[in-house]
Amino acid sequence: MKRLALLFLVCFCAAARADDLVSGLSQDQIEITSNYTGTDMVVFGAIESMDSANAARDVVVVVRGPAANMSVRRKVRIAGIWINRDEMSLSGMPSYCFVASSRPLSQIASKQTLQRYQIGLGNLQPTKVSTHRPPKAVPFIQAAVRERAHDQLYAEVPMGVEFLSYSLFRVRVPIPASVPRGQYTAEVYLFRDGAVISAQSTPLFVNQIGLERRLYNYAHTWPLSYGLSTVLLAVFLGWLSSVLFRQR
């Protein structure tokens, strides 16, 4: 929430500045259908610059998915078998996070600045952790980031912002099939000399549509009837096969 307020403040102040940022998305809705195997979304934008061309400017694009509750467990070896023992629950981590920048993040701004805006996979902070000693949560947070990155739901591309001209830029954002549904935000930050001088946030919706959505909603709204239908389907197909088999 603090991050959003900050973002808003920056947007507001930016109007008065020399550099202005305009950005948009190739689509504001991504629909997951039965043959969805992942797609690329494009975030594009332009920097309307008033002053000379030699100023060092950087663009960072962050796409975040809806917040999720994560529980991270650490295995220990007990009697030769690996068993989950320590558990940490992290609330408010994004379920999806993609970060692209025009240069490596460490060259763009200081760690503190990046942390304040939660830019970069190393700077994501859960809103709540199930421990009174936050440092204890650090390896668990790192593990969560690692695991999500492995599933291609978290990614960081240091040179992912592609400049088409001096002011025009474009970023390809991969949206894999396993992305959760919900409201996403695409945030575009303009940095100069290590400080955010302009920012913009655009909402994006990821939805299951058609049959998939109806099945998912059905399973969660009327679980009993959904379970019974599955059984009926199974019984019907079982019966059908026995009939077909007898006729042969």
Partner: protein, 306 residues
């Protein structure tokens, strides 16, 4: 081509899933088993979350057992009374098992429990079957007749109270052992997604001494209802039944069964059992390796929407 599974929330190659159903159906027709104990680990290896794999396999087993039960019903080899007693135990066991599975999922031990149960059961059943089939093969080679049921022989089962007459099984025994057997299989069905035929059949034949032809029909009857209940309870308690996945598995399965049944007619019983035993042991070893080997990442992550 890929297809998106609404509950598992991932895309899978539909040909792979159909192929899995086909292969497991084939083995199931060949060996006369439900095949759940092969399907659940296969789905987990493929990357389906264990919860979804267990619950959806239960629905696949429902389809294949219904198909098998119909033909046994026509041949009048279903002991309804015996099946009913086992079912009463079975439904209680399933409800308990699904409840237990929900708790295990919340404390993060579901995966371990599923894997460990499989290692123990596949190891034990595979070992016993291998031992038995090798002995039979040796005996056949030495020219001795294979041993069968010895009628009239009594064991500890006959000393228990609450006796009941089971006409079709030609038995007069206590209701405790079949109810207990049903209960155990119900728990296994809920936790492992299996029908439990591979445990029920040997116990019914060797311990309860139900005639072999009645055993298969009655066990199918019991498994049908237990897996159906298991599917519904998992859908209600854990939201883990994926109907798209189920549809693909069932379609592959019911076709595979037909080929399996034809194949079985060409192979000898002991050879079949030995093959199945080796398959079960290989699966057990693979799962055991995963439990014992140092995992590449000691941390694991479970995500739920807010």
């Amino acid at each position: 081509m890929e297809i998106y599974l609404p509950i598992a929330q991932m895309s899978v190659h539909w040909i792979v899933i159909l192929g899995m159903g086909l292969a497991v159906g084939f083995l199931s027709g060949m060996f006369g088993i439900g095949g759940g104990f092969l399907l659940t680990p296969l789905l987990i290896f493929y990357g389906i979350p264990p919860g979804v794999a267990v619950a959806t396999t239960a629905s696949q087993v429902t389809a294949s057992t219904f198909s098998g039960m119909i033909s046994h019903w026509r041949q009048k080899t279903v002991d309804l009374k015996m099946g009913g007693v086992m079912l009463a135990g079975g439904l209680a066991g399933t409800a308990f098992g699904v409840y237990l599975f929900g708790i295990l999922r919340r404390v993060g031990q579901a995966e371990l429990t599923v894997s460990a149960s499989y290692v123990i059961l596949l190891g034990a059943v595979g070992g016993l079957m291998l031992n038995e089939s090798v002995r039979t093969l040796r005996a056949v080679r030495a020219g001795q007749p294979a041993g069968g049921r010895k009628p009239g022989q009594h064991n500890w089962v006959h000393g228990l109270p609450f006796k009941m007459r089971f006409r079709r099984s030609r038995l007069y025994i206590s209701v405790i052992p079949p109810a207990l057997l049903g209960f155990t299989v119900g728990i296994l069905s809920a936790i492992m997604g299996v029908g439990g035929g591979f445990i029920m059949v040997p116990v019914m034949i060797y311990v309860l001494r139900v005639p072999t032809n009645v055993t298969v029909g009655t066990s199918l009857f019991q498994v049908l209802f237990v897996t159906a209940a298991s599917t519904v309870l998992h859908a209600v308690d854990n939201y883990t039944v994926d109907i798209m996945l189920a549809l693909l598995l069932i379609l592959g399965g019911v076709v595979g069964v037909q080929f399996g049944v034809r194949m079985a007619a060409r192979l000898r019983g002991e050879q079949l059992r030995m093959l199945l035993a080796l398959l079960a042991l290989a699966m057990a070893l693979r799962l055991l390796y995963d439990l014992v080997a140092t995992p590449p990442d000691l941390y694991s992550l479970a995500v739920s929407a807010t």
